[in-house]
Symmetry: C2
């Protein structure tokens, strides 16, 4: 289906797409483009890409698809460098964690070729990053959300869906704004809450004592507070409105819980904890089975 | 050191102590006492205990140590049944997650024998519960906090410390109130925050959609929201004041983070996320090395 694919950013996300495609019976030629010469050389030597290219014009020549898997802040600049060399049959997609902002960038930078752009978000990640962290099976059974605009070409949408299906992913479509409100709730909110908890404890006078006795519950709750600060600053700002809404809803939920506790409402607390634990355990079970 | 130990509650916590002691060169006789005949029979058949006893008088005869490892709500009643049969050389300890309440119960129920009681909290747990979940190595390298009162007999304290050291644990002493404020921050607060997040999402109209796209970050953050509702209701109420203080501090921290976001303060957000992620990752590293 694909003869030539160009990947901007050959780290964990882009590199794992490359490795998955390399396993196909007829793998496409994969061209890597990146800011860091070192990453490109590493991607070449690991066999993620067939060629590392700095000349955008030659990279894009006869390309079926361009995947932008660099930090989201670079997306407008990358789109700008692509635009002059973008043929009518080349489809562009990205892998950023927020989608409304990316759709706005793409519309601004691609103009009348915006219909060739499909926003995308693979719900997969790992602790590590860089080309060395790439895995052929990263996307198997994982969700990928595509966020076409009303004007997006159906052929472009179908090509991008095929790309991710070839990597083993389950593809869903959503409007960019719906994507951003869903992920504000299930991903961005917990990340900010985990950062807030660690910071709340880390800046106290007795932080050392507290951390000494923090155990496995704290470890799991705060794992995502070890995430990349620059990436999360960008996500928070890009999805500011939805995230502020979520933070307000959450503070309301905590206030309600505090009221139960202040009133010694043992039945109310039990019901809340039971409802939450049943929901959480049912969710975990459904994820194992799926 | 110990000839006879009595364990009230032969589940994960009590059963794991029993298994660890069974591995000693000269293991003590271990007597199990419990509400559930089924659990006692299971503990017997698994070899956790040498004898299951319902007659408290004969259980306590010549006992060196009594470990109360039943749900904390049962502690006053257990102390009451022990008191009439408590010899001067028998030391009592417990394994509850809150300590100020337990020390108050013990003082009320044991009267002039309160100096034979040492509050204890092993910082170890597992997903599973019951005698079948017991593991001989559960406490190896784990923290156990003992909370003697000013009047506690030094010999009693030393015996309880020895018990846990024989299980491989690292023993620290603290006042009960200090214990409860430390654990309000590093354990009870994250548990309540995780319950609140799941409940916040689970009761929405689009909960099914949200849970569909919740992934590994959500999974780890909410793992502790799958905890036992009855146990956590009891812990929350037992440690109410410290926990309300923590919930207020946390809401303040979230409000400060919201202000940074409202003001598009990219530098402030970056600094907060970076400080938190450095602290979290340094903590995780120290725990692996220790």
């Amino acid at each position: 289906m694909f003869n030539k694919i160009v990947i901007f950013g050959v780290g964990l996300i882009g590199g794992s797409v490359a490795l998955a495609l390399k396993k196909l019976a007829n793998p496409p030629q994969i061209i890597g483009v990146g800011r860091s010469e070192q990453s490109l050389q590493e991607a070449l030597s690991l066999g993620l890409i067939d060629q590392a290219v700095t000349d955008i014009a030659s990279a894009l020549e006869n390309a079926d698809l361009v995947l932008i898997a660099a930090p989201v802040a670079q997306t407008p600049a990358i789109l700008r460098t692509i635009r002059p060399h973008l043929a009518a049959q080349t489809v562009i997609t990205d892998a950023g964690s927020t989608k409304s902002d990316v759709m706005v960038y793409a519309q601004a930078e691609l103009g009348d070729q915006f219909n060739q752009f499909v926003g995308g978000h693979p719900i997969a990640g790992a602790e590590k990053s860089g080309p060395g962290a790439a895995m052929a099976d990263l996307y198997i059974g994982k969700n990928v959300i595509l966020t076409p605009a009303e004007t997006t070409s159906p052929q472009a949408l179908q090509k991008v869906a095929a790309l991710w299906q070839q990597c083993g992913a389950i593809v869903s479509n959503m409007r960019a704004q719906e994507h951003d409100s869903v992920f504000a709730a299930v991903s961005h909110l917990p990340h900010l809450l985990a950062f807030a908890l660690v910071e709340d404890l880390a800046k106290r006078d007795n932080a050392e004592l507290l951390f000494k006795f923090a155990a496995s519950g704290f470890r799991d709750f705060t794992r995502i507070a070890g995430s990349h600060p620059e990436m999360w600053r960008d996500i928070a700002l890009a999805n500011k409105q939805a995230l502020l809404h979520e933070l307000n809803m959450y503070q309301q939920a905590v206030t309600e819980m505090k009221t139960l506790l202040e009133n010694n409402d043992d039945e109310g607390l039990f019901n809340l904890f039971e409802h939450a634990s049943l929901a959480r355990n049912a969710w975990a079970k459904s994820k194992i089975q799926s």
